[in-house]
């Protein structure tokens, strides 16, 4: 459900009960409070940047900022196989996203358009599986996939796709529901056929929702840690996804914090940029279907 933002009436926030002042000042008080909060949310990641630029010989010094800023952590990063890990993470995230796309679209479209028997059951099933998390079923997942004998990357693609499927179906169903059937019927009347109507009319209109679901899946698969850790051990580092590769920096004789955070930045920044694109849609997409 694509909600439109109506101008909010003047409601004071509960924690900050400012006395009733003239509008401009109150707005600025709110703005400053918001800026402070924004900075707090940024701080840990800024710290990651500072750490990534800290030379190795300053790791033992108790200072907030390093004396000498250096890019050496970034330049020496690739020799430890990080490029391969990025490729692996990309494979897994892209693969999972493609599978989700291929599987969720038909299911969501059908659920949105047809009130078939078992529709409620299907929706409930989807809702229920959103509650199943990989961590809770790790033993089962590990034993099942070790019996399948698939290469770990493929296993991870399938696992990530399956666990993000419910969310995608949920969002897409809501988006498809909000597109009036009349548009499709009009297109079919003009001779487009069902599939034609689907591709020419419905999909472009649902594109924001589709892209939101896909980016969400991509990010979830990119950041996934526990199942990746469990299934991709024993692979050479370049075959392990990024989260696992970064985790490997821990536990060396001296925890390689500088490289770890440099790698962390590489892993995090693309995702933040991606997420920024869907930020607006997320507000509506997330609780669509449950909040009308």
């Amino acid at each position: 459900m694509i909600t439109t933002t109506k101008p909010a009436p003047r409601l004071d926030t509960t924690a900050r009960t400012a006395p009733r002042k003239r509008r401009p000042l109150r707005t600025w008080v709110i703005a400053v409070a918001a800026y402070v909060i924004a900075v707090i949310f940024l701080l840990p990641y800024l710290e990651m940047l500072v750490m990534a630029l800290r030379p190795n010989n300053e790791l033992g010094r108790a200072t907030i900022f390093p004396k000498h800023w250096t890019f050496s952590n970034f330049t020496t990063l690739w020799s430890s196989g990080l490029g391969g890990s990025i490729g692996t993470s990309l494979e897994i995230a892209a693969g999972a996203t493609v599978i989700v796309l291929l599987v969720a679209l038909p299911a969501a479209y059908c659920t949105a358009r047809r009130r078939f028997r078992g529709r409620v059951a299907f929706l409930l099933l989807v809702l229920a599986t959103q509650m199943f998390q990989p961590a809770a079923m790790l033993v089962g997942i590990q034993r099942e996939f070790s019996d399948f004998g698939l290469p770990p990357t493929l296993s991870l693609i399938v696992v990530n796709a399956a666990f993000n499927l419910a969310f995608a179906v949920w969002i897409l169903t809501a988006f498809f529901s909000s597109i009036p059937v009349e548009l499709e019927e009009a297109a079919m009347v003009e001779g487009l056929g069902r599939v034609g109507a689907l591709t020419r009319i419905t999909l472009p209109l649902a594109a924001p929702g589709i892209v939101t679901a896909l980016i969400f899946t991509f990010i979830a698969a990119w950041n996934e840690f526990l199942v990746a850790l469990t299934l991709s051990l024993g692979q050479p580092p370049s075959q392990q996804p990024l989260t696992v590769a970064i985790n490997n920096y821990i536990g060396e004789y001296s925890v390689d914090w500088g490289h770890l955070f440099a790698a962390g930045l590489v892993a995090t920044v693309p995702v933040i940029i991606l997420f920024a694109f869907i930020e607006r849609r997320v507000v509506s997409g997330l609780t669509a279907g449950a909040v009308k």
């Binding site: 690739w78 430890s80 490029g83 990025i86 490729g87 770990p152 051990l233 050479p236 490997n248 060396e252």
Partner: protein
């Protein structure tokens, strides 16, 4: 509006993805390592522990050197090296095996339950001259009378102390007994440094604990049976608990690993710590302590220095499920050559595991005393339950110095006896 938005998103997303792809592409071409493949070639999966202190002397480098030379001499065998940090080694190998992604060769810790499950080749299956391996360590690698664990490198432990801090605190002699340790640690703590560095964190708690148990004549086993909560062991931990509550150690020893404390010792912030020769390069690379500022002596026991030290040996194990026996044999024969053993030992200040390499080193002044101590060393238990007991020790024994030693040690004893 939505169409434009959608296009904007797609464009941006494509850009982000393309950017990362480009990054991956130009860097994956520069990542080295041996590639698997070639028609008719067998690929061996080698999983090793990392003994290095940083990327400069990472163990992967040492093995890459051997692998390059080996692959030149044996063109139809390729070797993939995976190096894992010690803290994660057991767990990762365990998970690999759970996932049925069996390695061919591992170098690091060894557990006889792999032999029990029929997963391993015996030493004579994969080595031309198994008799060359140090006999002292044969027992710990043996299961049901057959040797499966092949020692690769060994080390013994000593007590390192910071002479500079000692002089500042007015201490004139090296600590020899527990009472000395207590007194010296108290003096150093007054100066604001850590008196005794006690690493009981998950990384190697089993080693540190054993050193203290030995100090009172205890140990993990007596006559082949587990006696973790024996009176001498409880006494040892009661002593340690006193040390911790007097704040003469670092806070919360159960959460601190040897690696962190060794770094701090190298920075001159710790008075005493149990170490092995591997601590020496860490001190040298930190550049804070001069050679005259520290020294090592036998570990302090309750009434005097220990005569039996802890002899740790890291093992090579060869795995059956991939069926690469012949190739494994060629590789191990190659890797166990004296020149590689000695290179490893010089790199990491550890001790060799073959008789011939040991002979070559007896003339070396630095290594000689450690070598002579080896035959008398005490080792970890070698039965099939040690894997479970060890992981429980690593996780929980830190509680014995903040809580009740008797309770914690009894818990461990119970796990040891029920696991068998």
């Amino acid at each position: 509006m939505d169409k434009k938005f959608a296009r904007r998103i797609c464009g941006g997303a494509a850009l982000a993805v393309a950017g990362t792809l480009a990054l991956a592409a130009c860097s994956s071409s520069s990542s080295g390592g041996s590639s698997s493949g070639g028609s008719g070639a067998t690929t061996l999966k080698l999983v090793v522990a990392d003994y290095g202190t940083g990327p400069g002397n990472a163990s992967a480098k040492y093995w890459d050197g051997i692998v390059t030379a080996f692959e030149q001499a044996h063109p139809n065998i390729k070797v993939d090296v995976t190096s894992i940090a010690w803290t994660n080694f057991d767990q990762q190998v365990q998970t690999m095996i759970q996932n049925k992604q069996y390695p061919d060769i591992t170098e690091g810790d060894y557990f006889s339950n792999y032999a029990q499950d029929g997963l391993l080749y015996s030493a004579s299956d994969v080595l031309s001259d198994p008799g060359n391996l140090l006999q002292t360590f044969k027992q710990q690698g043996t299961y049901n009378g057959v040797q499966y664990g092949m020692p690769f490198t060994t080390s013994s432990r000593t007590l390192f102390y910071d002479k500079k801090l000692f002089t500042q605190a007015g201490i004139t002699s090296a600590p020899q007994t527990w009472a000395d340790v207590e007194a010296d640690a108290a003096k150093i703590t007054k100066m604001g440094d850590v008196g005794f560095g006690l690493p009981l964190g998950a990384e190697e708690a089993q080693a540190e604990s054993l050193l203290w148990m030995l100090g009172d004549g205890g140990g993990y086993q007596t006559g082949g049976k587990y006696t973790i909560n024996s009176a001498p062991n409880v006494a040892a931990f009661t002593f340690l608990k006193g040390l911790v509550s007097a704040k003469d150690t670092e806070p919360n020893p159960g959460t601190v690993n040897r690696t962190d404390l060794w770094q701090q010792f190298a920075q001159g912030k710790v008075g005493m710590i149990n170490g092995s020769p591997a601590l020496i390069p860490i001190i040298q690379s930190a550049g804070v302590l001069q050679a005259s500022d520290w020294t090592s002596v036998p570990i302090a026991g309750k009434t005097g220095p220990l005569t039996d030290t802890l002899g740790v040996c890291d093992n090579v194990a060869a795995f059956k499920p991939n069926g690469h026996q012949a190739q494994i044999k060629e590789f191990l024969d190659f890797a166990y050559q004296d020149k590689y053993q000695l290179a490893f030992d010089k790199e990491y200040d550890l001790l060799p595991a073959t008789t011939t390499a040991t002979k070559a080193l007896t003339s070396d002044a630095v290594f000689a005393p450690f070598l002579t101590a080896l035959p008398n060393s005490v080792q970890y238990p070698s039965n099939t339950t040690w894997a479970t007991v060890k992981s429980k020790i690593q996780q929980t024994i830190g509680l014995a110095v903040t809580g009740s030693p008797m309770t914690e040690l009894s818990n461990l004893q119970q796990i040891a006896t029920t696991a068998s």
